[in-house]
């Protein structure tokens, strides 16, 4: 009775089976492993951002103080004009979409092995990302210094507005900042020819991350700024 139990399919059961299943030469995802791992990371990141947004939904529903009017708080006037509602946020949105487009082109030129175009398109993407973060820094400083918004309170209404704002846009801004660094590293390696032998999947993997950052902004723009 010292034999290891074997079931009808021939696979081992119990602990041996567990080891077998995880070590056998099977592949579920027919994509480069780096791409599968990036997707799994992005799925887990989706959970983090959804938890933040669901937390926002809950505090906004349950607070008994009136919720500040985003359209007026994020309005900006140019050269003494009347304040234009949400104009900076709209510009930031368009910048992020533009950067998503240049990234998609970079992925395409990467697979065509056009190193120069891939490099410059990735640098352009990173530059758009950096300008996005700068605008966010401007928006934060305006809110903190001029309007007196703090994570624990603000002069307009519900105190949760500040904590939700700094938490969600801060975490997204951190993603953009990391993405800028990541893109610049990959772009430099592309130009140096590091991927000539390995293949250019890495550009697509970096692109997945970047498009995800844009994707998260789509939801933040809708739920936090517009609704």
């Amino acid at each position: 009775m010292s034999n290891v139990a074997v079931n009808q399919t021939g696979a081992q059961s119990g602990v041996n089976g567990l080891v077998d299943d995880w070590t056998s030469d099977k592949q579920t995802y027919h994509v480069p492993w780096g791409k599968a791992m990036m997707w799994i990371f992005l799925v887990s990141d989706t959970f983090i951002f959804t938890c933040f947004l669901t937390g926002y939904l809950n505090v906004r529903m349950t607070t008994t103080e009136p919720w500040p009017v985003q359209s007026e708080i994020f309005a900006l006037s140019f050269f003494g004009s009347d304040p234009i509602p949400l104009i900076l946020i709209a510009i930031m949105t368009f910048i992020l979409i533009t950067s998503s487009g240049t990234m998609a082109l970079a992925v395409n030129f990467g697979y065509r092995r056009d190193k120069i175009k891939t490099f410059w398109l990735m640098v352009a993407t990173a530059a758009f990302g950096a300008s996005f973060v700068s605008m966010q820094a401007f928006e934060w400083s305006k809110l903190i210094l001029d309007e007196g918004v703090r994570p624990w309170g603000n002069p307009f209404g519900a105190a949760q507005f500040g904590s939700v704002f700094f938490m969600i846009t801060g975490f997204h801004g951190l993603h953009v900042s990391i993405g800028v660094i990541y893109l610049l590293i990959v772009a430099t390696k592309v130009r140096k020819g590091h991927y000539d032998k390995k293949g250019y999947e890495i550009v697509e993997i970096a692109g997945l991350y970047w498009h995800f950052v844009d994707l998260v902004w789509v939801f933040i723009f809708a739920f936090f700024y517009l609704l």
Partner: protein, 131 residues
């Protein structure tokens, strides 16, 4: 179309989706700019949001060209989040109802705006409101 060679598609589709994303973002912004309110605002903003998210995932992230095993791994787990969102909405609705009922807050209170606060100091905001 997915293979070892990676995702390789004509450039045209990227340009089309790019323009479409710009258009949809413009539409979302227009909802705020023209001050659409109520159910119409929610409906339009969420419609444009879902369309934008769908096109980014499907085309820019190549999900439509991936094999089904990967697509289900990506889209499957996040669907349980809909359950979390609906639970928190139900719970939030109940909590706010009891708070208004027992804690004596005014449900019709209106939030202050920057022009209310900087009225005296700014000057031009007040002038803008008079127009």
């Amino acid at each position: 179309m997915s293979s070892e060679a990676g995702q390789q598609h004509p450039l045209g589709i990227y340009y089309k989706i790019w323009v479409l994303l710009f258009f949809l973002s413009g539409c979302s912004y227009a909802v705020d700019f023209f001050n659409v309110q109520g159910g119409m605002r929610w409906g339009l903003v969420i419609l444009f949001m879902i369309l934008k998210a769908g096109f980014i995932v499907a085309i820019f992230m190549h999900a439509v060209w991936e094999r089904m095993a990967l697509v289900f791994t990506i889209l499957g787990p996040p669907t349980v989040l809909l359950l979390l969102i609906s639970f928190m909405a139900v719970e939030g609705n109940y909590a706010s109802g009891t708070r208004y009922q027992y804690m004596g807050h005014d449900p019709d209170a209106v939030a202050l705006t920057p022009s209310d606060l900087h009225g005296e100091a700014g000057g031009h905001e007040e002038a803008a409101e008079e127009h």
